[in-house]
Point group: C2
Chain length 236, copies 2
DNA sequence: ACCTTCGTTATGTACTACATAACAACAAAA
DNA sequence: TTTTGTTGTTATGTAGTACATAACGAAGGT
């Protein structure tokens, strides 16, 4: 008899799909929650009911539920059963952001993301800037000159404060999650890479109230990083 | 006898820590992987060895491993055991990004994040822009005028192309993941909110090669959105 | 009304059992 | 000798049972 075809109709090798029951149940449960329009606080069926309904063992259901629980989609209390919760969208992000397991290409992508964020920041920053904020930034900038050797720590403090001023908590948390990546990429570089504009210079521009001038200052401040990525990443 | 204190020393309500064994094992495993400096491809001990080493049942270990597997931190094959893999950092993000379970404040944060990204985009865009890119953008902009009713779809196509041009795959994927949020926030608004600068106008500015002019054009294009958030989110 | 007690219930954990896929090692055939 | 087929072993995948534990609710006593 003829050999069974292992090729897809297109001639490509089909990727072996090793879907386990837990994977399927996880997807089914997520779809179930979405289509039933569950809202935070609503109660889910019991594990046994789900297991029977899906025709799998309670073990499998628990593995799937364990995942949803980790993502913060559900919460479980003994006896009370399970209820839908509002997931912390950055909580799961945090879990996979260990620099040791991210390939270098992705890390460079993330570093570029940082540059984009900081160049776009002024448009959120200026409408929400107060005198108090400026004072805080000045303080941080002054400390920069004092403790010259701990530049990275100061860098983090200053730029972190900028995100904080936007009042956008998600943005601020996002930035602090990405910090390890930023720091790691910086260590990959050879020279100290100090821009022409210092933090003090940025604060001065901030005080003038000229948004575009500040943005140009930020560009100069980040110039060493920008210079390093002018090419469209040709080789891989 | 005096009532047991349910307050922490600081006077704040202590969060009840309902850590389950699976939570602990998950943390331990992640720490184990990090401290042992596991690299992608390295093999982990078997489930039984982990269970015995941690002093818990295989069931608990499996729940924890199931989570890591979902995050893409490990992969398991029968008999071969488990190996470390490079997680897709946005894969887990995708799972919790269902608009139905995100509170409105976070969605506004994300929408602001979008505005920041688009305003910072030019600094990645211009160094990597080619003639072909401009042609593609022109085509999309032309279709805008043809199918005037499907503005949202066209909006997605045009701005998505801008991200694509940066060559930053992580950034592009990130944006497409956030699209449902953008779309949802837009539906919350009353008026059609059309900026003064159209997509065609943006392409024209792009062709001039003047980065700052393009950025100002983008600001005008997004003006209706910016106008809506000038206040530092006072209430709540 | 308040407190206590106790039964019920659903999750949390442990253990056993077996199916299944994948590898390894050896045996048979060309 | 290289290739192919067989078989046994091993670790994961799934099912099922059992029991602990916490939380709720109802009943009963003060």
């Amino acid at each position: 008899m003829p050999a069974m075809s292992i090729m897809s109709p297109s001639g490509e090798l089909e990727p072996i799909l090793n879907k386990t029951m837990a994977d399927i149940v996880e997807a089914r449960l997520r779809e179930y929650i979405r289509t039933k329009n569950y809202k935070p606080g609503d109660a889910l069926p019991t594990e046994m009911e789900l297991a029977e309904g899906l025709g799998v063992s309670r073990n499998v259901v628990r593995e799937a539920l364990s995942r949803l629980r980790m993502l913060g989609i559900i919460e479980t209390r003994k006896k009370r059963g399970m209820v839908i919760t509002q997931p912390d969208i950055l909580g799961s992000f945090e879990k996979v952001l260990d620099p040791i397991m991210i390939d270098e290409a992705t890390m460079r992508d993330i570093f570029e993301l940082r540059l984009v964020l900081e160049m776009g920041l002024p448009d959120l920053l200026f409408p929400r800037l107060t005198e108090a904020h400026v004072t805080e930034l000045e303080k941080i900038a002054r400390e920069e000159q004092a403790t010259d050797n701990f530049r990275i720590q100061n860098e983090i403090a200053f730029h972190g404060k900028l995100y904080e001023i936007t009042g956008n908590n998600t943005l601020k948390r996002f930035q602090s999650l990405l910090l390890p990546i930023f720091a790691y990429v910086i260590t990959l570089e050879e020279k100290p890479t100090r821009g022409k504009i210092s933090h003090s210079g940025l604060v001065e521009l901030l005080k003038t109230g000229n948004k575009e001038a500040f943005r140009q200052g930020m560009l100069e401040h980040l110039r060493p990083h920008f210079d390093r990525l002018e090419h469209p990443t040709p080789g891989e």
